[in-house]
């Protein structure tokens, strides 16, 4: 007699390489944000999981959607003229889809400012580029924590929030004016160090190179010279 055995399905260990981003897949894989790290038994392929979400930015740029509104991810995708006359300001308020804020509007506590020079410096003579702003809630698990943070007890990503910025599927370095992200938070104890970081895909860890951190009362401004 032939016995058939089926191993229990563990999406966090066997996330597909051929990135599928249907609502069902996104919801399923987002469970790994809490599942990975809960116990040593919940084996997860952190590398693949992270790549899945990193590629989601590209997927958003390639597809003709405008917004994403799921509990763990909010995104705004827009076509932007490279000939903008002013810096662009977007609200990153928690649990809201990012939205553009006009110059005469009150500045939201959590925001991102994209300098107009960023669009002018893009390679090629394009009249418009696609911009994706993503806010991802990475939960309390091990996904996107990076080796250093996981080793360093007590360290964390502020509010488990990552802000993704993508302009036209291009790497942009050495910006003359930095991209500015403002994170609001409660007043931190003096024995807590706050560092603005970006996710280095090659290293698979957080890095602060090219980013400066300006500490304020109840908010921190991050300025980075690259995307």
């Amino acid at each position: 007699e032939e016995k058939t055995t089926e191993e229990p399905r563990n999406i966090c260990r066997r996330v597909k390489e051929d990135h599928e981003y249907e609502v069902f897949d996104l919801n399923d894989i987002a469970r790994c944000f809490t599942k990975c790290g809960q116990s040593e038994n919940s084996a997860c392929d952190l590398g693949k999981l992270q790549r899945y979400w990193l590629n989601y930015e590209s997927y958003l740029l390639e597809n003709s959607m405008e917004t994403v509104d799921m509990p763990f991810v909010k995104a705004l995708i827009q076509n932007i003229s490279t000939d903008v006359s002013e810096d662009l300001l977007y609200s990153l308020m928690p649990s809201q889809i990012p939205r553009q804020v006009m110059q005469n509007e009150e500045q939201p506590a959590d925001r991102v400012r994209l300098p107009k020079s960023l669009f002018g410096a893009l390679p090629g003579n394009r009249s418009a580029v696609r911009l994706a702003i993503t806010v991802l809630d990475i939960g309390a698990g091990n996904v996107f924590k990076g080796p250093k943070l996981l080793e360093d007890k007590g360290s964390s990503v502020l509010n488990n929030r990552m802000v993704g910025l993508s302009v036209g599927q291009m790497h942009t370095t050495g910006l003359s004016e930095p991209v500015e992200i403002t994170f609001s938070h409660q007043r931190q104890s003096p024995n807590v160090i706050l560092t603005c970081v970006f996710w280095d895909m090659a290293k698979g860890d957080w890095d602060s190179q090219g980013c400066s951190t300006e500490l304020g009362d109840g908010r921190t401004v991050c300025r980075c010279d690259h995307l």
Partner: protein, 298 residues
């Protein structure tokens, strides 16, 4: 590109060393005064009749012994290197954990006894009362330590500084989930119980003068001192640990006050039991309540 803001709590080498010195000095002072308390207890048992019958001094004594041994194991643990055979570090961590849990349990039992004396008052007689408390006070921590030990939770624990260098290393937990359940969780349960009982007792103490109106109100500072004394018994100084995320100053206050718990217990013991001319007519709220309990037991 994804961006984020990282939060890293740091304990630099200088701060870790200062806090360690304060803890060591405080623990040593506590140990000396806890030893005095134990000697006094033995002396009182021979000279004062009520000591043989009352349970409260016995519970104070069990707490004093467990706190003395906790301070002793802490000083040995911090003073000795965590290097060496893993088995030795494992044993040191388990013993340290055991006495910490004994202290938490006896503080909880102090609160329970206080509850019987002040809140419940009537029908508080239990056969072999102190024996049952002792089984719980010394036995329950054994079960927890066996559980933590069998899941291989003990080992070297490191506190790292900004440059990821080790500020302090001691034999303690190597697995955080076990630490959260068997230390933080255990503490939280006993602490919350103690805090509730203390709040009820404080309310009774402060409202007592109004009940005995006409006999003259006692000075409020005495009531305040009584509550402060009781709070050291039920371990309110440990509760300051909850406030340590507020900043370094609260870490220092916690370290100082908590390591001196033995001194506070000694002071309480002296105020409560040291024979003076006025002892028999003591106006201390708890002393009266001890008396009431003694009568109700009879």
């Amino acid at each position: 590109t994804f961006f984020a803001l990282l939060l890293r709590p740091i304990l630099d080498l200088a701060t870790a060393q200062t806090l360690t010195r304060i803890s060591q000095a405080g623990s040593a002072v506590s140990m000396i005064f806890l030893a005095f308390t134990m000697v006094l207890y033995v002396a009182f048992r021979f000279s004062l009749q009520r000591f043989k019958a009352e349970d409260a001094p016995k519970i104070h004594m069990a707490l004093s012994i467990s706190l003395f041994l906790l301070n002793l194991t802490f000083l040995i643990n911090v003073g000795s290197s965590s290097q060496g055979p893993p088995a030795s570090c494992w044993v040191r961590a388990a013993i340290f954990h055991y006495f910490l849990l004994c202290v938490f349990t006896w503080m909880g039992l102090e609160a329970f006894h206080l509850y019987l004396l002040v809140i419940r008052v009537f029908n508080t007689y239990f056969g072999h009362y102190f024996l049952k408390l002792s089984l719980l006070g010394w036995g329950l921590p054994v079960l927890v330590v066996i559980g933590a030990g069998s899941s291989n939770s003990y080992g070297v624990y490191s506190i790292r500084n900004q440059e990821n260098r080790t500020s302090l290393e001691l034999c303690w937990f190597q697995k955080e989930p076990a630490l959260y359940v068997t230390v933080h969780g255990y503490f939280l349960v006993t602490f919350l119980f103690g805090a509730v009982v203390l709040a009820l007792v404080a309310w009774k103490i402060f409202t007592l003068p109004s009940v005995t109106a006409g006999k003259g109100q006692g000075p409020t500072w005495k009531s305040v001192l009584t509550v402060l004394g009781l709070s050291s018994l039920v371990g309110m100084t440990w509760g300051l640990a909850v406030l340590t995320p507020l900043g370094l100053s609260t870490v220092y206050i916690f370290t100082l006050l908590n390591s001196l718990q033995g001194l506070f217990i000694f002071c309480w013991f002296i105020i409560l039991y040291f024979p003076t001319q006025s002892t028999t007519a003591s106006s201390s709220g708890t002393a009266r309540m001890d008396q009431a309990h003694f009568v109700s037991q009879e």
